[in-house]
Symmetry: C2
Subunit: 430 residues, 2 copies
Amino acid sequence: MLHLNLFIFGCGHHRAAWRHQASAAERLGDIGYYEELARVAERGKLDAIFFADGASVSHIEDGPRWYLEPLTMLAAISRATERIGLISTVSSTFYTPFHAARLVASLDHISGGRMGWNVVTSMFDAEARNHGYEAMPPHAWRYGRAEEFIDVVLRLWDSWADDALLLDRAQGIYGAADRIRPIHHHGDHFLVDGPLTVPRPPQGHPVLFQAGASAEGRDLAARRAEAIYAVAYDLPAAQSYYRDIKRRVREAGRTDPVPIMPGLVAYVGSTEAEARAKQRELDELLPQEASLRQLGMYVEQDCMGWEMDAPVPPLPPLSAFQGPKGRYATILRIIEAEQPTVRQLLGRLAAGGGHCTMVGTPEQIADQMEYWVHHEGADGFNLMPPTLPGGIEDFVDHVVPVLQQRGLFRKEYETDTLRGHLGLHRPPGR
Amino acid sequence: MLHLNLFIFGCGHHRAAWRHQASAAERLGDIGYYEELARVAERGKLDAIFFADGASVSHIEDGPRWYLEPLTMLAAISRATERIGLISTVSSTFYTPFHAARLVASLDHISGGRMGWNVVTSMFDAEARNHGYEAMPPHAWRYGRAEEFIDVVLRLWDSWADDALLLDRAQGIYGAADRIRPIHHHGDHFLVDGPLTVPRPPQGHPVLFQAGASAEGRDLAARRAEAIYAVAYDLPAAQSYYRDIKRRVREAGRTDPVPIMPGLVAYVGSTEAEARAKQRELDELLPQEASLRQLGMYVEQDCMGWEMDAPVPPLPPLSAFQGPKGRYATILRIIEAEQPTVRQLLGRLAAGGGHCTMVGTPEQIADQMEYWVHHEGADGFNLMPPTLPGGIEDFVDHVVPVLQQRGLFRKEYETDTLRGHLGLHRPPGR
């Protein structure tokens, strides 16, 4: 049984999606748009919807690089849906644990036990400078803070016993004072006395997601995360990450499943040609000059004269490249595996970046997903449709039924909570 | 034309309301309960609903002293209502201006321009110790921070021009980079570069409420608030506050209306006797021992032996009282004006504390409200029903129609925004 999230982002994960005539570019400030997307995902019995987050905005000329605040969006969306999980990114570098614990706990009450939180440590100086830092604090400091942050949040959620409220009208005793306890946390990063101001969440703990790529991130994920988002360009990359994380989880002495969900950009067509035409239609909407300029930054050479519909010119090997290696390695792999034209390469980079892309019929895509799940590549996928709402409608209406017929995906929700959908136990109160 | 807010709090503002058989004590974690209250208020064409907030919990045995987080509640409630304003308390001592600006701006988008924020500086050490302070910072420091906080939030909202988004699909130009500007704030309390990550709110600025009682609070309110919550036990107290604030507003060079809304606890009955019976029924639910112990703290003497249904024994004059004078003065005024029994005094203190209480028929209550509004006591009221939902249903179904017949209150919403309901102009972009 695999797990599926819908990662909701603007008009879709392809950078030019907003330019499509059918895009919802006018509706990105309209909560009704996001509610509709969530309902499509719920129609497909997906485990959850997911919002990324960021605290800075740039290059607004190129496309929608802003978000409504995800926690408030999910509160609204929770009332337009019934069963689907709701996951928000929360930055441990910018939030305080008391605010985060309280907001997410309230959302777990509001949604009836459907909340998840994806802890990130944030990245950009521009974000740090909106939150009192002169620049982004060092990586190790952020991860130290993240670990303490998670610890405090979990203890705040446990500061109320599940049975703290008595509601004894006759005796006039509303709650049991000895079942609501302070936590008296005084650590390197935080001073938090507790208790929380909200009863223990319906799920005990809303589900903790993480997406660690660095060694520190993987360690934190292995020790703390209950489910993991991953970035994997192809199956070998997915397997390498998957096996490494599962090993670290075991070494941390954990027996819970910790499902791993790589991002997936899927172009679905009734024929492979139709799927490829959809992809090409979007790629042709990419602004040529800006895309070539950005590619030039990735590969550290001038690409402005490259012919869009010719094959990508030869690039130096990874060992000879002086810049950031992660994205460059992905570019080399795309070129090696797909021999793309320049336009196709730009399109691949413009939709999900280094995430896996599948293009084809519902059966072809289901075949690949099944293969990944059966070969230690994934326990499920974080769907990053190139367009919205079209891309998720295609997936829900055509790929999900194939997965269901194969017994790989639920036909109906079997539980009411995100924890239940993911097969995770409810943590007992302390 | 007067203004009316519904101040939603637990099972109602009477401390024993949760013990009433009809109370919603079981539903305080159920967002559906708050949605229903908001819909009752909207049926009455009220300007807004309002949530207080706090960051600590205590004396849980006595009653519901906890809240779901108000911003997430209001996001959900916005989707269950259409026109009514939505006001949340936001602590400038515990939030950062970037988070606050973003959450409230998002809610203004989600609600279609119906948000207000009530800025408070918070009070209790127990709250401070959940947010990294050893104790509550000094009053003057908190007010300095509040003023800078408000300034940064307003500038963040103005960091996007109203017409920043172009959505030019053909040219591939999504937004105008020169219409989204950083604010480069570097003050005593905050470093915030901006711009915000959310387009300018539909209202330009969500409406700024404040409730200043101290000299610093009144000054801040006069300079910054667009509407004001007040505490006034009786008309003379209301007039004194009203005239002082209006003078300060004029002296600050402002010409906007700045409506002042004292809290109002109303017991409504079809006869005066029925209204008094409702009040007495609640007062009789007060736990005797705990209430007398608390009264003992207010008046600084042992009250445990006081007879509940006898008149309040004589108390020393204000000049001879050594403890905190505000609440003691209110107690002396209640005794002087109403000659209450001990139980009645406890009941008055248990419902809204020092706020105005009106008990009677819809006409009697409308008479008093009209008198206050016509005699510089109020521009409207912040309704604090002793019970919920009963207290607001009584008010909406019986008092509001009388106010409407007298031409004192709208019969239909005339605008779609909180700013519109309050007669406030939309601030132009900078």
